[in-house]
């Protein structure tokens, strides 16, 4: 995979992740369950970080002389999100997908390049947040190699969203 292809794929995934965070953020306080380790404020903070990453990826694609891919109107979630637990699991899934995309960009990038620097940070952040959501979901685990190929697939574009972002 070329660097530009990897950047475009990472950008497309960021659109999905931003959509997904919109959905899951709305469910973190649903029902009677409260969990101080997974609040809407955390989701909002992470959403803003993903929006920043999206913009920086688009800049890198532009700098490479290509037109950045655009977002779909909606995306199909890997499963319906109806409660806080489902929201936390979706967050883990999304961060895992970001880690995979970051891994691919790093592998395709040149030493000391802006793309590599950006995505090393993105990989570390995604693994960190995946762990945070897992711990909050009382389902801790350890990935020895975050982002390495063989992880679950990304959510797919859809014309009929399964849930509406807030």
């Amino acid at each position: 995979m070329s660097l530009v292809e990897a950047l475009q794929r990472a950008l497309a995934i960021e659109y999905q992740v931003i959509y997904g965070y919109g959905v899951l953020g709305a469910h973190l306080t649903a029902g009677k369950e409260t969990n101080a380790a997974a609040t809407p404020a955390m989701a909002l903070q992470r959403l803003q970080e993903h929006q920043d990453l999206r913009d920086r990826l688009a800049e890198l694609v532009h700098a490479a002389g290509r037109t950045p891919v655009t977002a779909e109107p909606a995306y199909r979630l890997p499963y319906p999100v109806t409660d806080p637990s489902g929201a936390r699991r979706l967050a883990q899934h999304l961060e895992n997908t970001v880690a995979s995309a970051a891994y691919a960009v790093i592998a395709a990038s040149r030493p000391d390049s802006p793309a590599r620097a950006l995505m090393i940070g993105a990989l570390i952040d995604a693994a960190d947040w995946q762990t945070r959501w897992a711990v909050a979901d009382f389902a801790p685990f350890a990935f020895p190699f975050p982002g390495r190929p063989g992880q679950p697939a990304a959510i797919q574009p859809s014309t009929t969203p399964t849930s509406s972002p807030s």
Binding site: I106, P111, I124, F141, F143, F145, G147
Partner: protein
């Protein structure tokens, strides 16, 4: 019909130059296993990462003797060590014996826990720098992924939350 004597002299001169130049050109080995040009550039970074993982595993072994059993993290670092040794081998280098590793046999639990946390933090920082500078993209991705994993342990209260590695 005779040829131009200048051409003949030029041909002789060129031939005389070409022979030693050809002899100086690096040759691919018969088996075709000559390391990629980037590989040796990353050998030092991979070797350092191997040494760091060995150090962490040694400390975890002593911590287990002292009652602080972290089986999941031990498994993760063992997986890191195996992957790094494989990468080193694929790069055409072999793991050289590490510098003498500290003897922790007389270390106390609390002090060793602090030293372990510090060592893991230092290695995560070093891995991140090595990933940025790695000549080979696959080495960069591997080093960044391990850095991300070390960081998640750091961010999750010393890995005490972790269950089974996947």
């Amino acid at each position: 019909m005779s040829g131009d004597p200048r051409l003949t002299r030029r041909a002789v001169l060129l031939g005389a130059l070409a022979f030693p130049l050809a002899a100086c050109r690096p040759h691919r080995s018969v088996s075709g296993t000559t390391p990629a040009p980037h590989a040796s550039a990353d050998a030092d970074a991979l070797q350092q990462a191997v040494a760091d993982e060995e150090q962490l595993l040694l400390m975890l072994g002593r911590l287990a003797d002292l009652g602080d059993v972290r089986e999941q993290e031990r498994g993760v670092h063992a997986a890191h060590l195996a992957a790094l040794q494989k990468a080193l081998g694929d790069a055409g280098a072999t793991a050289t014996p590490s510098a003498p590793i500290d003897d922790y046999s007389s270390a106390h639990k609390n002090g060793l826990q602090r030293r372990f946390d510090r060592q893991r933090r230092v290695s995560a920082r070093r891995l991140r720098g090595s990933a940025l500078a790695a000549a080979d993209g696959s080495h960069a991705a591997l080093l960044a992924s391990i850095a991300a994993c070390h960081n998640t342990f750091e961010a999750s209260d010393g890995g005490q939350f972790f269950g089974s590695p996947q």
